[in-house]
Amino acid sequence: MSVVEVTGLVKRYRELVALDNFNLTIEQGEIFGLLGPNGSGKTTAINCILQLLTYDKGEISLFGEPMSPTRYDLKRRIGIVPQNVAVFSQLNVTENIDYFCSLYITDKKTRAVLVEEAIEFVGLQEYRRFRPRKLSGGLMRRLNIACGIAHKPELIIFDEPTVAVDPQSRNAILEGIQRLNAEGSTVIYTSHYMEEVEQICTRIMIMDRGQALATGTNTELKSMVGVNERIEVELAEADEQALQVVRNLPHTASAVLDGNTLRITCSQGSHNLTDTLSALQSAEVAYGRVYSEPPTLNDVFLEITGKELRD
């Protein structure tokens, strides 16, 4: 049974088609990444799944059952960490978490335990009595997360949880998501940062203009396109012979000489860097610095759409 099953979803905002025949299947236990530039339709997809938005066409089922605005039993099993921080500025950390937990858990005692766990989970122990306005951006995001997860949902949706967050908080958040997943929650993670998605997601969908462009694991996605590693070698002098040597290597997809710098794009395979360097050594080509860059999802995105993922 899939946790999320979306078929043929179409959502229009007047003329703008925000989701264009969008399909999505997420299995239990995944950390599923929705990767796409700003405006690609990630939040719209999430809001449709949650029935916060009406949509023009398509079917959505959660936990194997058709989702509707009144399926309160299904809502009980979902936790949401929205893109925009949604907490009461008039309530302190504990009160906020307690309130959002109360949307699912009526019993006060049970809730007290869950709220405490959530506070510890996000590391806000020292800020229990703080109102949001006194929290830094990163701590605020953590509060936003705690409000979404306190009731221990089976499916947790994180919509860009690391926007405007310092690197330290960002790592804490990513690590937290992995822990939640390890404790049994299925996770949907949307982001326009490919590094984060690569780091934690077990499966990734690349989105653009409301369409799913490719879905698969990190490795699968990268193998879909013909690019792999990029290598740059600074030569002592511009050397046509060196260029020839490199071009003759089997894993070289392309190679150009840019001044004294030799730029190489590799096709699939491992040991590309060592193979390249040993070939240059055998040809007695003198070289200085060497840069090697593994392939990224940006390469995949670039390959499919012809534009950079980075905004």
Partner: protein, 412 residues
């Protein structure tokens, strides 16, 4: 449910801006009025109103009117025929009467008190036995508030007398046999003295009351901010907060009902604070009908809560809404006479010429309700106003909840 109630209550009560307007502002405003008026009222109570009465043939024929005048001037009027310039009033007398023989003398006397305006005017009885009042022509321009009230008292005395007189003559004309019954005459006389005391002595007309009642009515309408904020935080389409709440595992009615309830309870609490402050802090009378006043506050804060909810429900930017609510409150209060004599006259004019406009103005209705409780022994007007406010509750409730129901899952 109860968690939503307490949370909404906490959120609203911690909103400094709204609390300031709902609690502090009315207190400050009424304190301001108090410092303005307590001096005024004292002054007003001390002096009997100086009037001239033309004691001609008609006056002496109108025996009952002469008796009334005698009573109002503390029983000493008959003796005070010498022109002592109005010094002859007892303590507790309402009128200080100076008798003259002819209308010309009355006019002369008024003109002779040239430098300072002294007499309010003169009363002359016409050939039908009806007292008529003519004010000093200099009063016509530039009436100050004191004089207006004083005049209105003289007028209201005469009106009451004429009404009673006409009633009795009408009965005498159509059912003369009733006058053969001594019991009937007793009842009639009793009635007359009762209404007379009730309207003049027990709850003396006070200009200041209007302001206090208007402040309270204004306070009640300002409570719409609580309803508005509560809904702003609740509606999925106005705030990420609302969206998050819409994902809870309870139905929207389950979360809306305690939200509005909290807004109303807080509104009622704030309005009650204002009421208690005015009633007991300044000893302002509400005709001794405090429970009825609380009923007015309850109904009117409910109107405000749902009006606020409606404002929260409509799709306009949140920033504009606080401006709109302030405008609504101030605009409606204009016709309840919050802003002084001009605003009172405008409000009264509209109430007279277009009563429907006064009827749909909750602020006017609330201040009218306090007025009717103060001036009338009967609860009829009060009941009418409660019903009117009840209709407003239903209308605003239906409109706001209907709108929210429609929007609930439509747009983000």
């Amino acid at each position: 449910m109860s968690k939503t109630f307490t949370t909404t209550f906490k959120v609203l009560i911690r909103d400094k801006g709204v609390l300031l307007w709902s609690v502090l502002f009315p207190l400050v405003l009424s304190t301001l009025f108090y410092s303005m008026f307590n001096k005024l009222d004292a002054e007003f109570q001390l002096d009997p109103l100086p009037v001239i009465i033309v004691a001609d043939e008609n006056y002496h024929k109108a025996q009952s009117f002469a008796t009334l005048v005698d009573g109002l001037s503390g029983g000493g009027a008959a003796a005070a025929t010498d022109d002592t310039g109005g010094g002859g009033g007892d303590a507790g007398a309402l009128l200080s009467v100076t008798f003259v023989d002819t209308q010309d003398q009355a006019l002369q006397l008024m003109a002779s008190s040239d430098s300072e305006l002294y007499y309010l005017g003169y009363i002359i009885v016409d050939s039908d036995g009806m007292p008529r009042y003519a004010m000093d022509s200099r009063l016509a321009s530039g009436l100050d508030t004191f004089t207006t009230i004083k005049q209105s008292i003289v007028l209201s005395i005469l009106d009451r007398y004429i009404q009673d007189y006409e009633l009795i003559t009408a009965i005498a004309a159509s059912e003369p046999q009733l006058f053969a019954d001594p019991d009937f005459i007793d009842t009639l006389l009793l009635q007359q003295s009762y209404t007379f005391r009730g309207s003049i002595t027990a709850n003396p007309p006070s200009d200041a009351l209007r302001y206090y009642y208007a402040v309270l009515a204004f306070t009640c309408i300002m409570m719409m901010n609580f309803g508005r904020l509560a809904i702003d935080n609740w509606k999925a389409s106005t705030s990420p907060l609302g969206a998050r709440r819409a994902l809870g595992s309870y139905s929207w009615v389950h979360s809306l009902a305690p939200t509005l309830m909290a807004a109303w309870v807080l509104s009622m609490a704030c309005a009650t604070i204002g009421f208690l402050y005015i009633r007991f802090g300044f000893q302002i009378s509400f005709g001794g009908k405090e429970p009825a006043c609380l009923a007015v506050l309850a109904a009117s804060t409910m109107v405000s809560t749902f009006l606020g909810a409606l404002l929260g429900a409509v799709t306009i930017p949140g920033g504009a809404k606080s401006g709109i609510s302030a405008f609504i409150a101030n605009f409606l209060s204009l016709f309840a006479g919050l802003y002084g004599p001009a605003s009172q006259q405008l409000g009264d004019f509209i109430a007279r010429e277009a009563p429907i406009l006064a009827a749909i103005n909750p602020v006017r209705q609330v201040s009218d309700a306090f007025f009717s409780l103060y001036y009338y022994d009967s609860y009829q007007r009060f009941t009418e106003i409660l019903i009117t406010l009840g209709i407003m509750v239903v209308v605003f409730f239906a409109a706001s909840v209907g709108m929210m129901r429609k929007q609930q899952y439509k747009s983000l």
